[in-house]
Symmetry: C2
Subunit: 96 residues, 2 copies
């Protein structure tokens, strides 16, 4: 299993619309990419104001999903909820 | 649901023993804290070499878990698998 995480760093002047993110942006990602799972993090404490974790069955499945035409619309939608430059991480999920 | 994530930044000279982390350190955390879930991230690409995500039923349950006496032994064990200073994040898990 692969986890594709996107983190939004907290910073002075950073804006983030959590409602839009939950109700519009992440659902758009799910409809476009069909991940195995999707969970949002709304910060309580730490360096990020928010994050999202998508899981995919494999790296190949993830890469094919992100290559969808709809990814351009997802990128264009980011300005509708934040002015933060996101940080991306791709990892293999390991169960201890 | 609360997610407690610990991220290990990648850097020149950073060391990280993924086997020890999976087989010894994270199991020690699970035995000590009894989280609702625990998953490790082994980096494929991004700013972190590894991460772990523990979930707890609430912030209060998490705080009580981390206050356990065994947390000192967990902290002392970090030097056995990495020389990296970890980054911690606490978030509310939101399902889109």
């Amino acid at each position: 299993m692969i986890r594709f995480s996107v983190f939004y760093p907290a910073a002075d002047g950073a804006t983030f619309d959590h409602d839009y993110y939950r109700d519009t942006h992440v659902p758009l990602c799910v409809e476009t990419w069909h991940p195995a799972g999707a969970e949002i993090d709304k910060a309580v404490d730490g360096p990020y104001v928010a994050a999202v974790h998508f899981t995919f069955d494999s790296l190949e499945v993830m890469q094919a999903a992100l290559a969808a035409d709809g990814t351009a619309a997802i990128r264009a939608d980011v300005a509708n909820y934040t002015n933060v430059e996101p940080v991306r991480q791709v990892s293999e999920v390991v169960v201890p």
